[in-house]
């Protein structure tokens, strides 16, 4: 897919996104992250019920040549993982904001939303890096 950064998402500087609705959020990696990694061939998900904390690694994605930690934009408890990625990790490349979502999380601290970037700030970050 072509480079894109949806308006409704909030972004973490380590190239992760969060889609927040009330106390629930969906996490994934951005177009930039999947492009930098190349073809994702393995997703190592966390366990449902695991606690994640903002800024810490909670999963791994691997391309043919590289391994990358995935960082949680927000803290909370994993309520679901995208099981489809076990067999089709390439969905992370093909549709990073849709079918390539990684986990669903019940948020523990809504105030953490504040420091996350909006799409304009994230695009500025990409330009300066």
């Amino acid at each position: 897919m072509a480079e894109s950064y949806p308006e409704h998402l909030r972004y973490h500087p380590d190239h992760d996104w969060a889609s927040v609705e009330g106390e629930e959020a969906v996490f994934g990696i951005t177009w930039y992250a999947q492009d930098a990694l190349g073809e994702v061939v393995f997703f190592d998900p966390p366990k449902v019920g695991a606690e994640v904390s903002a800024g810490s690694a909670y999963a791994e994605v691997e391309s043919v040549k590289a391994v990358s930690d995935v960082f949680a934009p927000l803290s909370g408890e994993i309520t679901a993982v995208n099981e489809a990625l076990v067999d089709s990790p390439e969905k992370i490349n093909e549709d990073p904001y849709g079918e390539g979502w990684l986990v669903k999380v019940k948020l523990s601290d809504p105030e953490e939303l504040e420091p996350l970037l909006d799409v304009a700030a994230y695009r500025d970050l990409l330009k300066s890096s």
Binding site: G38, E39, V64
Partner: protein, 332 residues
């Protein structure tokens, strides 16, 4: 991606796509980073017999031969293809070893009537690989392509090439050595005939599926060719440098192919655990054809038999794997 002073494409369209193109059709790799050393003169054969592990006397005119270059202690300096072309020999080196190989050759030439020449700048190298590779090259030349492990001088797309029936993918195909000035035209002609451009990424996944060694991963001066499974190209009776040590060597480890039986991807440097003791992964990737993590590892001899269950520590996670037979693909 910079590699040994070369700008190299890791991929063009995508590693998986390029990999499958080579397995099912034809791919072309620009491997011009490979070095070449030319050896000529009345003692060229005797000289190479002393340096290279294989029996150079059995290398016929127009033939190709694989061998390793060993130190006195048996440690592997490089793995090499050598072609005999009339009264000269052309040895293809790994880019990162070329300087060291050349010095090794030159320093040992005293007493032999040989001329050792660095000809790396004279050759670009294109590898055309896959079940459809020969057909594509055949359409670009009037001559007959060489058989496997043979070499012929031919015009390809109007450009003079040394066409070699060799490769690094496990598929049929040829490698073309040609002057750098003409290589662009040959590349373009190959693509126009339907070859898929393929990069270093696919080259690595392809060679690993068929368990070909990569110097720096699976071979090093710390390992001898016997434990690396290359005893077949070490003709000890030819008295090459290193043969004396190898004659008395008793390897305690062996390089084996492995495949994960669950999730994960092995990577170079991962620790292997087996009932016979620890080992180490030297190469690892996700196999596009087998859809599982694969690799090669040095393991204790007691764990080297195909079917032996092992565990690989991948960044703190214990992944289940088993030792397999060569090649990993196609599975026998």
């Amino acid at each position: 991606m910079p590699f040994a002073g070369w700008e190299m494409p890791v991929q063009y369209a995508g590693i998986r796509q390029e990999h499958l193109a080579v397995r099912t059709g034809a791919g072309v790799f620009d491997v011009s980073h490979m070095g070449e050393i030319q050896t000529s003169g009345p003692d060229a054969e005797a000289f190479l017999q002393r340096l290279l592990s294989n029996d150079v006397e059995r290398l016929v005119d127009g033939g190709a031969q694989y061998s390793v270059l060993c130190q006195e202690d048996g440690g592997v300096l490089d793995d090499l293809f050598t072609y005999r072309i009339g009264d000269r020999f052309l040895t293809v080196t790994n880019a990162s070893n070329h300087g060291r190989d050349l010095a090794w050759f030159s320093e040992r030439a005293a007493g032999f009537r040989v001329d050792v020449e660095d000809v790396a700048d004279r050759y670009a190298m294109l590898a055309v690989q896959g079940p459809g590779a020969r057909e594509i090259v055949a359409r670009l030349t009037d001559g007959e392509l060489p058989a496997r492990m043979r070499t012929v001088e031919l015009a390809v797309a109007g450009v003079g090439c040394l066409v070699c029936g060799t490769g690094y993918t496990g598929e049929d195909g040829v490698e073309l050595l040609t002057a750098p000035e003409g290589a662009g035209a040959v590349w373009d002609a190959l693509l126009a005939e339907g070859a898929t451009p393929a990069g270093l990424g696919a080259r690595d996944t392809l060679r690993l599926e068929v368990c070909f060694h990569l110097y720096g991963n699976d071979l090093s001066v710390e390992r001898n060719p016997l434990e690396a499974g290359l005893g077949w190209c070490c003709k000890l009776e030819t008295d090459f440098i290193g043969s004396e040590v190898l004659r008395g060597a008793e390897p305690r480890q062996a390089l084996v192919p492995l495949a994960f039986t669950g999730p994960g991807i092995p990577r170079q440097g991962n620790t292997v655990r087996s009932e016979a003791g620890p080992g180490v992964v030297t190469s690892g990737t996700m196999s596009p054809c087998l859809d599982t993590g694969i690799g090669m590892a040095y393991v204790p001899l007691g764990a080297a038999s195909p079917g032996t269950p092992i565990e690989v520590d991948v960044r703190g996670k214990q992944r289940s794997a088993e030792v397999r037979k060569k090649p990993l693909y196609p599975q026998s």
